[in-house]
């Protein structure tokens, strides 16, 4: 490697490992391209506003005199903002450093002399592929109104409207749907081209020599042909000879079939992609959700758990790779996605942040093998998320624990314990069971004592629970992890305590309201 190349490669390595540079590039990428980045939407809204302002000014200019400040804003300020955006997109479109480093390492690995010129050619190719991309061309054309003095270039303001493609996801989805039918559209285009060419020539031959006909040039013939095939028929040019009218009839039939064909292609593309569109929308919605339960596997227990949690107005997302179970989840009114919960890629695609968005991951497959696998997958992404799992065979308990499950539920053990209670204390068991399940409208609830409540209600006797026909079963001190049953009147309430209360659901609600009202009132 010659001295110059070495200096360049060293410099590139320096830039590539510079945190400040990479951080800035990452930030620009997030703002411009990363749809999961929280602040991107504000940037998009800003750009969309500029586009609409620009178009509004263009329309106003047609019949009205627009103040020079607004003209200046439209021609220079907006254009310069778009230009800066173009340059930034050009910057982040590919990494010059990465290309040069990769080329240098590749050459070194093969024992070849590093060729800086080849590396530069690769960089140029990468940048040119951006420049000639459809979106970049639109971006560039949208900057052209900067040359406002050239009247024709003012119309390039309309290219700014095309920039909306960048900022509105639904446009991009629609374009991608149509793109899937590109072969059909190509056939359609060829068919239309043939019909237009043949009919234009025919009408020109039939009508051009007739002085009464308005078809004087080949351009007139092509114009008439396109207007007719599109079934628009302005009527400004009409065939007057019998032969010309025969051609017109043929073009009309061709036009009808063309419209029908186009409509059917668009409709079939939309129908085929409807599920995908829904899924994209669902994923977008999920990314905005906070504090939901992620159910992995929708079998019998999962169905019941979802029903119970849904009654408590909890948000639930179901992941299952089985289409039948997924269909059942959707039928049950849940948000369900066809992804394998045991695959890390699933979480990357959906874009769920397990640490901040998910209350708990419920591994509810009726197979320990699947639950262990899912647990390990989830744990490899998040160390802190709460994982609850079903255990089908007690001999696998330690495997689930080792995989990182926080809480295990073993139904067979539960049956054993229930049996013991049923033969020992049946009435007591039933009473507790009834309380837990809100039979007869009587419920047991836990109320968190927050900062404000603990400042205003110092002691237990100030709760006035008896007035609301509420039983205070006890106080759970979370910091001490201890339950104080039937606390005496003088027991002090502290922030973070939980009151365990029993009563009619309606009275519990009233009691909760009272606790908060009391605080407000005394303030």
């Amino acid at each position: 490697m010659n001295y110059f190349s070495r200096v360049i490669v060293d410099f590139v390595y320096f830039i590539h490992t510079a945190d400040a540079y990479q951080h800035k590039k990452r930030l620009v990428y997030d703002i411009l391209e990363n749809s999961r980045y929280h602040y991107k939407k504000y940037f998009d809204i800003f750009m969309i506003t500029l586009i609409f302002m620009s178009v509004a000014i263009l329309i106003a200019e047609v019949k009205h005199e627009v103040p020079s400040e607004i003209k200046f804003f439209n021609s220079y300020v907006i254009s310069i903002i778009f230009f800066i955006e173009y340059i930034l997109r050009f910057w982040i479109s590919s990494s010059v450093c990465e290309i040069i480093i990769s080329k240098s390492e590749h050459d070194a690995m093969l024992g070849r002399e590093f060729s800086l010129s080849r590396a530069i050619i690769k960089v140029i190719k990468a940048k040119l592929s951006f420049i000639f991309s459809f979106k970049a061309i639109i971006d560039l054309l949208a900057i052209l109104p900067f040359f406002h003095e050239l009247r024709l270039l003012r119309l390039f303001v309309l290219f700014r409207v095309f920039k909306l493609f960048r900022y509105a996801t639904s446009f991009q989805i629609f374009a991608s749907i149509l793109y899937t039918k590109k072969f059909e559209f190509l056939i359609l285009f060829m068919y239309a081209s043939i019909v237009i060419s043949v009919s234009s020539i025919l009408i020109y031959v039939m009508e051009a020599n007739n002085p009464a006909s308005k078809v004087n040039t080949l351009f007139d013939a092509v114009y008439w042909s396109i207007v007719t095939i599109a079934t628009v028929g302005y009527g400004d040019i009409t065939p007057i000879t019998t032969e010309g009218r025969v051609v017109a009839m043929g073009v009309i039939f061709a036009g009808i079939s063309l419209i029908a064909f186009t409509t059917s292609i668009v409709v079939s593309a939309l129908t085929e992609k409807l599920d995908d569109i829904r899924e994209i929308k669902t994923i977008e919605d999920i990314r905005k959700l906070k504090g939901f339960y992620l159910i992995c596997g929708y079998e019998n227990v999962a169905q019941e758990v979802a029903k119970k949690l849904k009654d408590g107005v909890a948000n639930i997302i179901v992941l299952d790779e089985d289409v039948h179970r997924l269909a059942q989840a959707k039928k049950d009114g849940l948000v369900a996605l066809n992804y394998d919960p045991g695959d890390v890629q699933s979480y990357k695609i959906i874009g769920i942040d397990l640490n901040t968005q998910v209350k708990a991951v419920l591994c509810l497959r009726e197979s320990d093998v699947e639950n262990v696998y899912t647990t390990l997958t989830v744990r490899s992404i998040s160390k802190s998320v709460n994982i609850v799992s079903l255990l089908m065979d007690d001999s696998n308990r330690n495997k689930l624990t080792f995989a990182g499950v926080n809480e295990i539920l073993y139904p067979k053990g539960l049956v054993g314990m229930i049996s013991k209670e049923l033969i020992g204390r049946p009435v007591a068991f039933e009473v507790i069971h009834a309380l837990r399940n809100d039979y007869y409208g009587v419920n047991v609830e836990e109320i968190l004592v927050d900062d404000r409540m603990s400042q205003k209600i110092i002691y237990v006797n100030e709760l006035n629970n008896a007035k609301f026909r509420i039983i205070l079963l006890g106080i759970y001190k979370k910091d001490k992890k201890r339950f104080f049953f039937n606390p005496i009147d003088g027991t002090a309430l502290e922030t973070g305590d939980y009151l365990l209360i029993i009563g009619k659901s309606i009275f519990i609600k009233e009691f909760e309201k009272y606790l908060h009202k009391k605080i407000k009132h005394e303030k």
Binding site: N300, G416, V431, E446, F485, N486
Partner: protein
């Protein structure tokens, strides 16, 4: 002399868990299997495995068992066989207490129709526990301790004896939590149906001799309370239905 026994029908993990949990209450526990020859060979538990077929030949169990105080658990894995077994047992042994396990609501209804005294809906119960773990973790922890763990906090039912000072007083006047450290949760009617202590139905009820209450408290407080106010009354669960 007839024996009080526990009969478990079906050899599987459920049967073994049940047997393990009730072994302190029943000295004689027999597990009946439809495939006894194989199950006897693989049995590693201390419980005796006997043969069962679903015909009407019950000579094997119709020996010296006190059916009125015995209990049967129907935990066959096949729902149809479990229902058939339950109806067979009920038709032959009218006083036998039958607890059956069901996997879904439909089977639970059929088991009840077949004569089971109590049905444990496996899926629903498991789901309830998981949902409670998630939404009310403290309630779950406290109730789990009260019900399933041998802590100091207990739940039991007491009966008001004659000459009790509360006879003739209203429910609202019960001050047991302050006086005796126990909290009454519900009152149990003669038909074994319980009524929440603050429900409007029993709001004006005047306490009488024989009234039964479900109370929660520490073991020592409950002991003291029983001496003063009544007696611990163990309800025969077979009469219980919610």
């Amino acid at each position: 002399m007839k024996n009080k026994v526990a009969l478990i029908f079906g050899y599987n993990d459920y049967a073994l868990e049940i047997a393990k949990n009730i072994s302190d209450k029943y000295s004689e526990i027999y597990i009946y299997s439809l495939h006894s020859e194989q199950d006897i060979l693989k049995n590693k538990s201390n419980f005796e495995i006997r043969s069962l077929d679903l015909s009407d030949n019950w000579e094997g169990i119709n020996e010296n068992f006190d059916f009125e105080n015995s209990i049967a658990f129907c935990v066959l894995e096949n729902s149809a066989e479990n229902v058939f077994l339950t109806i067979s047992l009920r038709s032959l042994f009218h006083h036998l207490h039958i607890i059956a396990l069901s996997n879904n609501k439909e089977t639970a209804n059929k088991l009840q129709m077949a004569g089971a005294n109590k049905v444990i809906p496996l899926v629903q119960t498991t789901a309830e526990m998981i949902a409670e773990m998630m939404e009310k973790p403290i309630v779950k922890e406290v109730f789990h301790k009260i019900l399933f763990e041998s802590g100091e906090l207990k739940i039991t039912q007491v009966k008001i004896n004659a000459n009790n000072e509360y006879i003739g007083r209203g429910i609202a006047e019960l001050d047991w939590n302050h006086k005796y450290g126990v909290i009454p949760l519900s009152m149990v009617h003669e038909d074994m149906k319980s009524e929440f202590i603050y429900s409007s139905k029993i709001k004006h009820h005047i306490i009488q001799e024989g009234d039964m209450f479900v109370i929660v408290g520490y073991e020592t407080c409950i002991g003291d309370f029983e001496k003063l106010i009544g007696s611990r009354y163990d309800v025969n669960w077979c009469n219980w239905s919610r």
